[in-house]
Amino acid sequence: MSVTIQDSELLLQFRDPATKEKAYTSIIRKYQERLYWHIRRMVVEHEDANDVLQNVFIRVWNGLENFREDAQLYTWLYRVATNECLTFLEQQKKRSSVSLSDVESGLENRIRADKHFDPNKLEWKLQLAIQQLPEKQRVVFSLRYYDEMPYEEMSKVLDTSEGALKASYHHAVKKIEDYIVNH
């Protein structure tokens, strides 16, 4: 599926040095919130999400000229954002010399440390439940549940078959439901 007309225009403008910055700004404004929340749900802290998001847009600045347009622009942006998140989490794990599961329980603690955290509210329980999922399953759940991404697009973002993604999402929903019911 190729890019939308609006995105293709933005790409053309980006490739023109005279309008590059204007196109870049438009792209950021168009996708910043979606990407931000996708990243935030993975890394929890605003500062970390800000770092990752800026890295994503720097990659966009450097790589958009070579974007082949064989997928939607937002698919490519989500792919970059997801990879940056996973890289960030991996780096956090190495920096603190702990296992990834400890990083995940660290993220859970950060959720609890949020000044607005309320353990009785379902939306907070949902965030805690999401952190119980394995990393990739968390991404699948987030993309499907929050961003309502079609499996076909998700398959391009995560480079995984649609069948596997469906199964992963279904398992994720069941696990989250169990967590919410039991906590």
Binding site: W37, Y145, I176
Partner: protein, 305 residues
């Protein structure tokens, strides 16, 4: 009746709600059930409960023959005529169902109504005005990166980047793997041969002999006529004067002179210096040397062992 009203009154005291539904049966018996019941029970008792359909036994032989001929299954009238349309309708229904399943809302409704209720608002907060400033910050960051890259790059340097200034000897890269292989291959382990071991023990014997003979000569010289180092006793010297040098030389060449302790030791003393002896005795332990000296404490013992 009195009993029933007593129970009912008791129940009212305990639970008025239950008392309200007292004796109301939720189940119902089929119509006419009780009217037929006696006849049915009689049939069971007489062994006539199971009824055989009318004409069963008359048609039984034909049915068996049909089974044998593989004609048991009957196809409903018009089945094959309507089959294509039936299948097509099913295919369309499946496609419609698949599209429906790709709808995230429908999917979530099926998977977990609970999650559907929760809503999609993420509860995390973020700084005010974050998104309005983000694009300006991102542009500034990208421009800064470009400026740095431009600063670091230089047309002059870029021009010579791929030019090699150093020369490599001809055939260097072809020979390099072989050379490296030779360096990293482990050294051949040559087992120590028996004769080499014997030579080492002989060297140990020489050293021990030097020590003993020196001591012996030193002690012996104190008791004999005074002779200085290198001089023969007077009787021997007088007899030797009668023999010409040529005769002495031919005697020495033609005789198999058995190695005397002195010969061995003196020869050894000329051929071996301290570092040679150390090298030869490097792998002979002190205990072995000591044991050897104690066991073979004369020069003859040393030479013949």
């Amino acid at each position: 009746m009195d009993n029933r009203s007593t129970i009912l009154n008791e129940l009212r005291e305990i639970s008025p709600a239950l008392a309200h539904n007292y004796l109301q049966q939720p189940y119902q018996a089929p119509e006419g059930y009780f009217a037929q019941l006696p006849e049915q029970v009689l049939q069971i008792v007489k062994g006539r409960f199971y009824q055989v359909p009318e004409g069963y036994f008359e048609s039984l032989p034909d049915q068996i023959i049909k089974k044998l001929k593989g004609q048991i299954y009957e196809v409903p009238a018009g089945y094959f005529d309507s089959l294509p349309e039936t299948i097509l309708n099913r295919v369309k229904a499946n496609e419609a169902g698949a599209n429906k399943a790709d709808d995230p809302h429908e999917e979530l409704e099926q998977l977990s109504p609970l999650l559907k209720q929760i809503g999609k608002k993420t509860p995390f907060s973020l700084p005010e005005g974050y998104f309005s400033n983000l694009s300006e910050n991102a542009i500034a960051g990208a421009q800064a990166l470009d400026a740095v890259q431009e600063e670091l790059s230089s047309p002059l340097l870029d021009g010579v980047k791929n030019k090699q200034t150093y020369e490599v000897p001809a055939g260097y890269f072809d020979q390099l793997p072989g050379r490296l292989l030779n360096k990293v291959q482990p050294a051949r382990v040559v087992p120590m041969r028996f004769t080499k071991r014997i030579l080492q023990y002989a060297a140990a014997a020489v050293v021990a002999g030097v020590i003993i003979i020196t001591g012996w000569i030193y002690l012996g010289n104190n008791n004999t006529a005074a002779t200085t180092h290198g001089e023969l006793p007077p009787v021997v010297a007088a007899n030797l004067d009668k023999i010409s040098d040529e005769m002495l030389e031919s005697y020495i060449e033609n005789q198999n002179i058995l190695p005397t302790a002195e010969n061995v030791i003196i020869a050894g003393a000329d051929d071996f210096d301290t570092s040679d002896l150390k090298e030869m005795l490097a792998d002979v332990s002190d205990e072995d040397l000591q044991r050897y000296i104690e066991r073979y404490n004369t020069a003859k013992d040393i030479i013949t062992n």
